[in-house]
Symmetry: C2
Subunit: 190 residues, 2 copies
């Protein structure tokens, strides 16, 4: 039996990223769950942000940002970056998260996050009091410790943090269920 | 030590949804990992789709779509819906997935998916050969079996399928790491 719950901004689960705006000299970061890839040609990420965000202000100054994926061990630092405001706090000083230069864009990446994505802002779309920012992915980085021999990401080593809206919980990723583009072929043959 | 991997459409992890377009009489569905909430005022979802998708054609006819979250037990059906094309196959007949009427929009929801979202298309944004479709969330539904007493979603009962790009693997969600808006407060006090 299904129950109507009303309109609500829910999807299960969501990723959990630290988005950085600014430069090595002046930067801010915030925790973003409303983010995902939207295109592969060109490779593009989109995220929904409130207009008032300090990080958004810094992103617009350079036209760039970085997306940094934390492991579950960084949960305290990530949660802090979602609670504190860059208008009043230096989140890097408070958390110990260190910035290192990117390869292509002026906005730095976070050293302790094992997967990092450099983006150039390629579009904006207004949705009520939110701005959806589109970023073309111009480079990605991974810690060698989370890479298998063929440079594929070892997802157990990355140990990404996952966000559950509504419940407001951080989870780990669980075990493998099946291979995609494979398990469904049984039904194709029928 | 970080290694440059080049521009690639990666984010870990992604959700895994069955998006339905059309009506009770004529519908199609496809598996979408490039989807997430982008705004809460109004509650809005966005997803990236190739222009050639049959489901997109049907979505535009009614101006509506539904997002249906499968449990891990539906992995075979979900994968099939990502492999087969609605131009040549009846995915509902092949999988046994059943459509039931929505409450607000003409596009039906999938009965076997324990969480369902009804959307009205509220915008489009072109990104290369992809279209980002924005949908205002007008209703959500959950199976009573996945609801706790306060109507909060029991995430272990929902048992959502999670997608890992690159590796092309479906995973389960793992255990809880911490409460959001709580664990980071330790750093606020310092």
């Amino acid at each position: 039996m299904k129950k109507r719950l009303g309109p609500a901004e829910r999807l299960y689960p969501m990723p959990c990223a630290l988005v950085v705006g600014g430069t090595m000299e002046k930067a801010d970061t915030l925790a973003v769950a409303w983010i995902n890839v939207m295109s592969s040609t060109p490779p593009t990420i989109a995220m929904g942000l409130r207009e008032s965000r300090k990080t958004l202000e810094l992103m617009r100054e350079t036209g760039t940002f970085t997306v940094n994926l934390p492991s579950a061990s960084l949960v305290r630092e990530v949660d802090y970056c979602g609670i504190a405001s860059g208008h009043s706090a230096d989140k890097f000083a408070a958390t110990g998260l260190r910035l290192v230069p990117s390869a292509v864009v002026p906005t730095p990446i976070i050293e302790q996050c094992p997967f990092n994505i450099e983006c150039r802002i390629s579009g904006e779309h207004e949705v009520g009091s939110y701005r959806v920012i589109f970023g073309e992915i111009v480079e990605t980085h991974a810690d060698e410790a989370i890479l298998a021999e063929d440079d594929a990401v070892d997802i157990a080593a990355l140990d990404p943090l996952v966000y559950i809206p509504g419940l407001r919980e951080y989870h780990r990723l669980g075990g493998k269920v099946a291979d995609a583009y494979t398990v469904g072929r049984e039904l194709l043959a029928e």
